[in-house]
Each structure stands twice: as structure tokens, then as C-alpha cells.
Amino acid sequence: MKTTYRALLGATALFALAGIAAAETTITVATVNNGDMIRMQGLMDDFYAKNPDIKVEWVTLEENVLRQNVTTDIATQGGQYDVLTIGTYEVPIWGKQGWLVSLNDLPAEYDIDDLLPAIRGGLTVDGNLMAAPFYGESSMVMYRTDLMEAAGMTMPEAPTWADIEKAAAAMTDKSKEQYGICLRGKAGWGENGAFLTAMSNSFGARWFDENWVPQFDQPEWKATLDFYLNLMNSYGPPGASNNGFNENLTLFQQGKCGMWIDATVAASFVTNPKDSTVAEKVGFALAPDNGLGKRGNWLWAWSLAIPASSQKQDAAKAFINWATNKDYLALVASKEGWANVPPGTRTSLYANPEYAAVPFAKMTLDSINAADPTAPTVKPVPYVGVQFVAIPEFQGIGTSVGQEFSAALAGQKSADEALAAAQALVTDEMTAAGYIK
């Protein structure tokens, strides 16, 4: 390794001497169209100043399209991408397949040990860091302090589901298009599937028992779904079965939601006066629980990884190092303020007194620390993952189950029918995939 490196250096020097410009390496980076990624694309001058011989081509796509394109490519060894933006769901599965390049050899100043342990654990396969977290998130309660005050109530720091229901009832005024609570209802494993799975953890439910037998016929799931449906039907906005993260964000920013339980990264959007009409009136609390020892919050990290099929792994590593190290956080802070720094990846960020002044910093960290992907549920489970089950089949079954729950929310099925259908289709899939013998 060292000799090649030296040889390379020598060669480069030779070229430079000969007056030939070193060939520019172009890397293709696939990413989601989230605010933090878009912001990064605006800061590329800094990267080019530090890496003049690397050029970055962006592929910015909506999450689902990104996942389809990238998975097809990596599974067929298409080699079209050099850096992928993937989540904590893909990393363990793809890492195990040998599709990703280990990032253990990132330079020392990257300081791998500074990564938040919960996040790092989710991205590590067999001791190898397979992806570098760009931002991490959990979920929490965001609520309107003015409406709570008007109702004469206060939100506890760690509310129970009963507290949430009471607050939702107090804040709802449908004549003013003001809905007590906004939750995800749009079908999809990463939409309502994520929310309901995380929520079910706090109700003591689980996807599978230790023998991979689906558990949708158990009372815990029934309790989860009944509570969710009652909450949404009584205090939720119309058309909730099509609301995902984005739709709810828009609603909350317009002041139409009293509470919203969703990703912690949303905090910087709802408190940004440029987009939000309620920027000054938002409070934060931990995701609710039911006193069973688990809260209804998830853990996710959008992370950068290098596919093994990439031909330009060194340049890709240079890019990942730039995009996820401490300097990048400082760079964003200097240009856009601390509130806009990609959150949830580094211990040092939360130790920084300047960042501690950001209103949602502490709650984000507490939420992330409250999630444990390796022991997500009250009862034991054979899988890893809080709001998902880290097996390849989950995208399919998570979406199908999400469809059933979405149909229940739209009133086309009863909770019992939806759960029975979910139980049947998951059993079917798991049998076909060979989990259930």
C-alpha cells in the first residue's frame, strides 16, 4: 500500500514536472433531495479548493427513485456510482453482501471514535465502518407552544401516549383548520411503516417473534393500530392516508398542526422563519411511551458509502472524508449558522457550547440516545432495526403492510381486517423467503 502510494506520488510529481496537468477524476455521487444534501451542493467550492483534481457529478433524486436506481445498479455490479447516499437499513444488508467498501482506513483526523455510538453501531458490519453518517436522526414530538398555552396545558419532556391524546383533543379546532396531531399515513416502509413500527415498539409489539413468526395477530399490534386510528380520525387532518414526512412538514409550517411526531431533522425546518409561519412557537419533547420501557422513536442516518464496483474509490473516499468530517460541520456553521449544521452524527458537535444553544440540540441527542437498534422492542426479536427490520424482504413487506394500515386510516378497512391481511401476507412472504420452515 505504502509503496504504491509513494510510486503514485512520484508519478504525479513527474507529470507535474513534465507540465502535464494531472488527469481530473470525476466521481458520481447519488443523493436524496433533502435540504442538507442540497446545502452541501452549494458548498462545493470548499471541496474543490481542497481537492482540485476531483470533480463531482451529482445525481439528486427523490428518495424512492434513488433507492430503486442505486439498488439495481449495485446488485448488478453496474458500477455507475462512486458514492451512494443510503440509510441504516441498507448498510447492514449491503455490507454483508460485500457490496460496500470498508471505511476503516479514513485518515486519523476523521476521528471515527467521535461518531455517536448508536449511529456508528448501525453502520458497522463485522467491525468495518461501511458508511459514513452525513446526518443522523431520531423522532420526537414537535408541538405548538402557543396552542398548548391557550389550552392551559404543558407538555412534559417525556410524554406518554395518554398525554399526547389529551393535548391533541385540546388543540383541535377543525373550523379553523387546526388539527391536534399530524402523523404519517402515506403507505411505504419508510413512511407510515417507519412511524407505526417505531410506535408499536412503545406498545410492546414486535414484527416477529424469535422464530420469525409474524406478530400482527397479537393484542399489542391491535392496541397500537386502534390507538393510532382513533387519534388520527378524531384529531388528524383530512386525507392523512396520503401524508408523508413532506406533506406533514408543509402542514405544520402552515400552522395547521398542533403536534407532529416525526424526524428530529424537521426541527430545523419548522423553526426556520423563512419557511415556517410558526417558527417562534415550537416546542420539543421526547417521543411518547406507554410506560413499558421503550419509546416510540426511531433511529436513522443518511450515510455516504462507496460501492465495491466503483473504479474511483480513492477519490470517493476523499469526498466522503470532506463531507462528513468535523471541518464540514464548522463550514456549514460559518456560512449558514449552527442551526443548519447536519445533526446527529458526532459527539463533539453536542459538546460544542455554541451548538447547545440551538433549541432542538439537546432533544435530538436525547432522542438518538434513547433508540437502540440492537434491542428495539420490549419482547425479544431476531432482528436489528428500530423502525424497520434489517432483512432484504422488508422493503416489500413493509410497504405492503403500510398499504394495509393506510387503507385502515382511509376507512376502507377495519383495524382487524388490516391486521389480518398484514399477518397473512407477511407469513406468506416469510415462508417463501425461507425464514419460516
Binding site: 445525481v59 433524486l61 439495481t72 448488478t76 453496474g78 456510482y81 414526512f245 412538514l249 419557511d275
Partner: protein, 276 residues
Amino acid sequence: MARAVSTRRKSFNTAAAWSVAMLLFFPILWTILTSFKPEPQAVASPPVFLGFDWTWQNYIDVNQQRDYLRFFLNSVIIAVGSTLLGLVIAIPAAWSMAFVPGRRTKDLLMWMLSTKMMPAVGVLVPIYLIFKTLGLLDSRTGLVIVLTLMNLPIIVWMLYTYFKEIPGEILEAARMDGAGLKDEILYVLTPMAVPGIASTLLLNIILAWNEAFWTINLTVTDAAPLTKFITSFSSPQGLFYAKLSAASTMAIAPILILGWFSQKQLVRGLTFGAVK
């Protein structure tokens, strides 16, 4: 069309036709209007129709995020390229089917159309693997090939039906005068076929421009056309109606303008032989 009609009747027709036309066009108009609104006004309730603070900001933002010109050029190259290639292949075929019909010509045509019935998504993995092997992934050449093959049946059919309208006697007469096959095609047939070819060309440019499965799934950056451009804006975080509208307007404007200017030519041949 020299039917005498009272002014009153004509006024009524005009009012009715314009109402229908506006109703059908309204979604497009609304999108264009929204693209000039500041984000908060794009979701204002009640909606603002014209009295908003007109701004170019959304277009600037969208263009800053994605390099529109590159996607646009790819769309043009892919749409025009696949259509021209398709015409080159299809014109001889349509000519021979129209003027030297065999017993099986109809069946052949129907078979060609039936190749369009394979759902694209069912063959994505095979095509992806083939493209990877041939090094065609994310290349304009690859997309031109796929879209040519996809639209070839429609091109052949349109041309065939149009050529069939050309009276055979004229060709006979040309042959009597000693015109060879080449002259026959070049000097006799082509001038008569130009309107049909133009119309076929236009329709297929539209179809290729709007194709949104292969163009999204076989491209990355180099060959990505406007359909892929749109997927970057379909649901970003936060308020997005105005930016989405701006991106949409940018994606549809070129083909819309082309369509408006050429609609006479387009319509003339768009009969698929249905008019006798």
C-alpha cells in the same frame, strides 16, 4: 364548411368551446402561474390567482440546484435522435407494406404493435444487464436505441396508413415514364409523403420526450433527460409547490411550444388511416 350560422349561435359555440378549452388547459396555466409565486403564496388560502408578488426566484433556485441546460440537451438529443433513427428504419418498411402488400401485411402490423405490450418494468433487469455488458448504461446512444425500438411500431403504422392514401396510379405513371425505384421514392413519393412524415416525426418526438421509465432507470448523469430532472424536485423537504411548478414548467415548456407551433402539421397526419 359554408354553413350559414347566426351570430348568436356562433357566439354560443364560441363561449362553450372556450370554456371547455380553458378547463382542459387550466392545470397547465395554474402550474405556470404558481411557478412565479413565492413559496408561501403558492399554498395560500384562499388561492391567489394573479395578484401575487411575481418573482423569478423559483427558476433561479431550480437552475442553481440542477443544470437545466444539460438535461434539456439530453432530452433533445434523445427525442430527436430516436425519432430520426426510427424514421430511417421505418420509411422503407412502411413503403413496402403500403405499395407491395402481401397477404400477411395486416398481421405483421398487428404483431409489431403487440411488441409494445410487454410491460417495461418486467424486463428492466434483463435490459439493465444487457446494457451493462454492452457499456450502454447512462449513454445517450443506449437510450436512443431503446426509444427507437419502443416507438418503431407506432412510426411504421403511422407511415403505413399515410402512404396507403397516396394513389397508386401516380406511381404507376412514374414507372411508365421509366423512373427507377430510387427516383420513384425520391421524386414522386417523398414530396407526397412529407406531411405524413412530418406528423409522424412530431408525434414521436413528443412520445420520446415524455417517456419516463427507461429514461429514469437507465441513466445517471451523462444521459439524464428532463424526466430525471423532475424526479429531483418531486418531493423535497418543506414548501415546494412553487419550485416544483417552476421545474415542471421548464420540463414541459420546450415540447409545449414545439407542439403549439407545429400543431397543424401534427394533426394532419395523426389520423392513423382512420379518415377515408
